[in-house]
């Protein structure tokens, strides 16, 4: 997945939102620990930002797909059927 257009796009938008260097992120990165200062408010606002950027709508199950960044990108891909995650 790493290097896939969707993964790179998601990571780019996360960096834009947090206004920090996120080049260390990999599909195995856990957002809760890999992203400095990501409390619940920032997390939910970041998801809204990703929705806006990617043109998708996440449902409540998104939180079940946040263990790793790879899971999140897979979830995003399922919301964007025209886009392949890998």
């Amino acid at each position: 997945m790493e290097g896939s257009p969707l993964f790179e796009r998601v990571v780019r938008h996360i960096g834009e939102y947090l206004e920090q260097d996120v080049s260390h992120l990999t599909p195995a990165s856990r957002p809760a620990t890999a992203l400095a200062g990501l409390d619940s408010l920032k997390l939910f606002e970041m998801l809204l930002y990703l929705e806006d950027c990617l043109g998708v709508e996440f449902d409540d199950s998104v939180m079940e797909h946040m263990e790793t960044l790879g899971e999140l990108v897979d979830y995003v891909a399922r919301q964007m059927p025209a886009v392949k995650a890998v």
């Binding site: 206004e19 408010l41 809204l48």
Partner: protein, 406 residues
């Protein structure tokens, strides 16, 4: 009992966002009241506001919690800016943590009314799921004290006082008392308010509280031609300190707080009671160990509303024949609600430094029956050693603070 000194002050106001600018423009008689810029006000009878000077306000969104501060409603951002300035002047808590024994006390009247209004509009126009995650934290009144504490890395007690227009003076007074009785060594205290938003104008228009003149000479505290208040906003925060604590670190006192009282009692939610207001002033003087004749200047609340005369009647009862000078900064600023008492304290510090009394802007002809009182309509050179500040809030809440020159 401990002596309490003021060692730092910070201001956000329609006259400028440093204490120096605020004082210069206040004494020069400049008005901060202008046409509203934040929304189209043509549907309201009042189209003026004392909007805070925008210069430097973006700087609030900096530091370790800059992301969060940027998402807070204005009352929080203003309080953070004012607190940083107060701490810088006092040289306390700047990047190296705060000393032990402190307390943060902030008065907030209406909290994040603009964000509440915008949140409702967004929900109804774009749907529930577009509500921003920061909505609730951005508007709850305690978030001013909370963000100040987070921003400073402050780890002591924090309190929020919500008592309408008396909020800021109560915050200052309670902080003062806690230091005087030895419970605290220092405090960061004051008030903040920012509610220039359509629903505020609807609400105050419904009770005919707003000036409808929409000219360059309103609001008019104590003037017989006054027709209501203008909505203002701002924040003023102060470092109060045990005098020995301040001396030990060579902090320079800007003034002393010596007395405070707060009382209840009114003729209704909005009807001011001269008796209760007078009792509050008398108790504040007693708390300071001062006599009525010791007082030089009263910084009245007087937003330019019909009940300004109730405050004058109370002053006349308490001070009888001593005739202290009376002024109000609300002609310059509009009514700043929870910030009004703290902004008056910033004006008091300026009066101590300059040995001058600032004018009551737009006061031309005193209200009938009060011509014999010493209402200051022009800037005046004068001995200013002892001042009293008044604040009165909806619900019959009164607060008075006594300060003396260092």
């Amino acid at each position: 009992m401990r002596d309490v000194v003021i060692t730092g002050a910070g201001v956000v106001s329609a006259l400028g966002n440093t204490r120096t600018l605020f004082v210069e423009r206040l004494f020069a008689g400049r008005s901060g009241v202008r046409e509203i810029t934040r929304f189209d006000a043509t549907r309201f009878r009042s189209r003026l506001a004392g909007e805070a000077d925008p210069a430097g306000l973006d700087a609030a969104a900096s530091g370790a919690f800059g992301h969060e501060i940027a998402r807070m409603d204005r009352f929080v951002r203003y309080s953070v800016i004012a607190s940083r300035a107060a701490c810088t002047e006092s040289d306390i808590g700047n990047g190296h943590g705060t000393p032990p024994g402190g307390v943060v006390c902030v008065g907030v009247g209406m909290g994040g009314l603009p964000h509440i209004e915008n949140g409702i509009l967004l929900q109804e126009s774009q749907g529930v799921r577009r509500t921003r995650p920061y909505l609730i934290p951005s508007l709850i009144p305690n978030m001013a004290a909370a963000m100040i504490s987070l921003d400073l890395g402050f780890e002591g007690a924090q309190y929020t006082f919500s008592s309408a227009c008396a909020s800021g003076t109560q915050a200052l007074g309670e902080a003062f008392h806690s230091i005087r009785r030895g419970q605290r060594k220092w405090a960061l205290a004051g008030g903040t308010e920012a509610v220039i938003t359509p629903i505020t104008y609807s609400g105050f228009q419904a009770i005919h509280a707003l000036s409808c003149r929409n000219d360059a000479v309103t609001p008019r505290p104590f003037d017989c031609g006054r027709d209501g208040m203008v909505v203002g906003e701002g924040a003023a925060m102060f470092v109060l300190e045990d005098a020995e604590h301040a001396a030990a670190r060579a902090a320079v006192p800007l003034g002393r707080v010596t007395g405070y009282a707060t009382t209840s009692g009114g003729g209704g939610i909005t009807l001011r009671s001269s008796e209760a207001a007078g009792r509050c002033m008398a108790e504040a003087l007693e708390d300071a160990g001062a006599r009525a004749e010791d007082l030089d200047v009263i910084f009245a609340q007087a937003p330019g509303m019909s009940h300004d005369d109730r405050e004058l009647a109370a002053i006349r009862t308490v001070f009888n024949s001593t005739r202290p000078a009376i002024t109000s900064p609300e002609g310059h600023l509009g009514h700043t609600f929870a910030a009004s008492g703290p902004l008056s304290l910033a004006a008091v510090l300026g009066a101590f430094e300059r040995q001058e009394i600032p004018p009551t802007l737009n006061l031309d002809t005193p209200d009938v029956g009060f011509e014999q009182m010493d209402l200051v309509s022009q800037r005046r050179a004068s001995r200013v050693d002892r001042c009293l500040i008044n604040s009165f809030g909806f619900g019959g809440i009164n607060a008075s603070l006594v300060c003396i020159r260092s």
